[in-house]
Amino acid sequence: MNPTTRAPDYADTVRTPEELGRDAIGRTEAQVIGTSPIERTAIEREEELFTINMGPHHPATHGVLRLLVSLEGEVVRDLKPVMGYVHTGIEKSCEDKSYWKAIPFIERMDYLAYYSNMAAFCGAAETLLDLEIPPRAAWLRILHLELNRIHSHLVGLGTSALDLGAISMFWYCFRERDTILDLFEMSSGQRMHTRYFQVGGVAEDIPVGFARKVREFCALMPGRIAEYEALLDHNEIFLQRMKDVGIVPRERLLELGVTGPLLRAAGEPWDLRKVEHALPYADFEFDVPIGTVGDNWDRYRVRLAEMRESVRIIEQAVDGLPEGSWIADERHVVLPPRHELATSMEALIQHFKLVTEGFRVPPGEAYFPVEGPRGEYGVFLVADGSAKPARVHMRDPSFVNLQALREMCVGGYVADLIANLAMLDPILGGIDR
């Protein structure tokens, strides 16, 4: 493009090729792309390379992730993720909201794992308050967390299959997802972003008929998973696309801080549900599926197996749901029951104070991790004694896991890059927060 052919107005805005190659601080393209050994060989043969810019608007980046990909023919030689395109400043906004008003913000971070987000935040706040949630609340949390895990894996599976070209899977997965969202809607009134978890328990007890609906779902889901398997597992093209693709060794994944199904697919049986006992997962009988090779096939299989295990947990949760209150009886934190507002002046004042000011949390810091669908969701919370958090930080698994993408993709084909990214299953809302 020759600058002189443009209108004179553009003269000050058009960059010459030299300027384009060298940015404001004098970094060349090669330097931006990086300087690891593989990259250095790539730079030496720079004229062979072909840089394409995937995203922020690209059908397969699962959001607005941007990837600067250096290609040699169809082979990925280097890759650089650029993110922040949905950076929303949620952590900052939370500092301006009282604790219970911050929950809706927190759940909009990773918008497929809103229950995990909420569980991590409420857990951190409860740690700071030294608040014990009643068993019914804990079981309801587990029930919803596992429903959420299935929901998230379904969306991940459907969009991954769409990226691989098996379009119908998308519709089948979203059909089941809608069933789960009906359950969410039944218990909380919203399909997404339910704000169901509350500091001290859950916002409301489950309605009449919920347990029956959940049992129906539990009866339905294993058959549906079998259908997905029938469609994909014996498909030669799918097998070829998935097997032995995107392998990163287990040790490297641990170094990179990867958690969740990605890590388990590589053979590391690390699941916070089994080791951390903040939620009573120990009362449940379930297995942690792990892979052996750590390729995309293992990742896909681990997710499917996790869905089955989640169904098991949900069945147990709904069968053995303890009686009792669904929220802690701590009136300085928890809103008084609705019926008391009409009869008790103290309850009314309490309600008013809690809604307008929120509750105060004693000064302190806590880090509370939860195993979500993508790995470890951890909220780091600093309280300064006021009713608003002083600092909220979400350790989002997508953000950390994304660092493994480069190692998964370099040396593979562009098509594998798409498969890897789909199997990494990043949620950009969680990455950018």
């Binding site: 493009m1 072909f50 394409i52 810019n53 690209h58 059908p59 397969a60 169809e74 299959a161 769409l162 990226d163 691989l164 070209g165 098996a166 379009i167 119908s168 998308f170 519709w171 089948y172 059909r175 469609l231 498909n235 093209i237 799918f238 070829q240 696309r241 084909y413 562009v414 098509a415 594998d416 890059l417 798409i418």
Partner: protein
């Protein structure tokens, strides 16, 4: 029924009328296939598909086409002007031209052949135009000045080379059995014996697989793999130029289905009176098109290298073997 001579020619006014009729039928067929695809895909995916525009959604393709026609015509700054403009036309032209050899019946009343032309080179004509249509994709992708288009163009070129040979070899068996290149002769030859799909089953499979690749249909839609290359070679195309590519894809589906129906499925021959011939042919074409759609709803996309190795390492040896075996059998019997 009189077997037509190769080189049989009607009066020129008949040819003009004939070509207009065929063109009208196919041009009417393509939007119907578009709608059929959307409806069928909907059924495969547990939903309805278009049903609000006109009765039963029948006017949906019309709305699409009129909308595409009324979109702004636009050329990116980086595009090469003339090539960019003629590339979609090239695709449409070659697809239309290939339609001419698809027979919908034999010579009726001794003076009108129910086909565009019956050329002596027969199927070679289709291959020649099939190759030209790839220039459309290649030029369109290359001249767009976009990297995604460029990659799509390169992929389509590689795909052409890998699949054209297998496709040709797959048909060689049929040609040897029928002893003619003309599609009319081949269809007639099947009336006496059995449909060639039975003796030439391997050839039929290879032809269909290569046909999927030729038409850029899933699972071989690499040139426009929308998950990887946004929209591949037609990333920069909008409006009716994009619509041309879109329609050409469906016309090529008709062509491939037509050739397969004529060469493997007995062409227009079927039970019932002779005048049912064209309807039989259309029915066979539609069945094959439903196969195309079914495959699209089911199969994931191949990777680039897998596509290559399937073409060169599986299809080509198989097709060669098929030709050899057929040749031996033809000579022996």
């Amino acid at each position: 029924m009189v077997a037509a001579d190769v080189g049989f020619a009607e009066a020129s006014w008949i040819m003009v009328v004939k070509s207009l009729v065929i063109f009208a039928v196919i041009l009417g067929l393509v939007p119907m296939i578009l709608l059929l695809e959307r409806k069928l895909l909907g059924r495969f995916q547990a939903r309805y598909g278009p049903n609000r525009v006109g009765p039963k959604g029948l006017l949906q393709p019309l709305a699409d086409v009129v909308k595409l026609l009324s979109k702004e015509a636009y050329k990116p700054d980086a595009a090469v002007p003339i090539l960019w403009a003629i590339a979609p036309a090239l695709v449409i032209l070659s697809a239309t031209a290939t339609l001419a050899i698809i027979p919908f019946g034999d010579v009726a009343d001794g003076n009108v052949g129910l086909y565009g032309i019956d050329v002596s080179i027969g199927i070679l004509y289709a291959f020649a135009f099939g190759s030209i249509s790839f220039y459309g994709l290649l030029l369109g992708g290359w001249s767009s000045g976009s990297k995604y288009s460029f990659m799509g163009a390169m992929r389509s070129a590689a795909q052409l080379i890998s699949y054209e040979i297998s496709m040709g070899l797959a048909l060689l068996g049929v040609i040897m059995m029928a002893g003619s290149l003309s599609l009319v002769d081949i269809a007639n030859a099947q009336a006496d014996t059995i449909w060639y799909v039975i003796p030439q089953f391997v050839g039929f499979l290879i032809f269909m697989v290569a046909g999927f690749a030729e038409t850029n249909r899933p699972p071989f839609d690499l040139p426009e793999a929308d998950a990887e290359l946004v929209a591949g070679y037609n990333t920069e195309y909008g409006g009716m130029r994009f619509g041309s590519y879109f329609m050409a894809e469906y016309m090529e589906m008709v062509v491939v289905s037509g050739i397969a129906a004529a060469m493997f499925l007995g062409g227009w021959h079927g039970p019932g009176p002779d005048w049912l011939g064209p309807i039989w042919m259309l029915a066979k074409i539609m069945v094959l098109i439903c196969l195309f759609i079914w495959v699209r709803a089911t199969l994931p996309r191949l990777r680039y290298d897998q596509l290559m190795s399937l073409g060169w390492k599986v299809l080509l040896p198989l097709a060669t073997l098929n030709v050899l075996v057929t040749a031996v059998l033809v000579v022996v019997t």
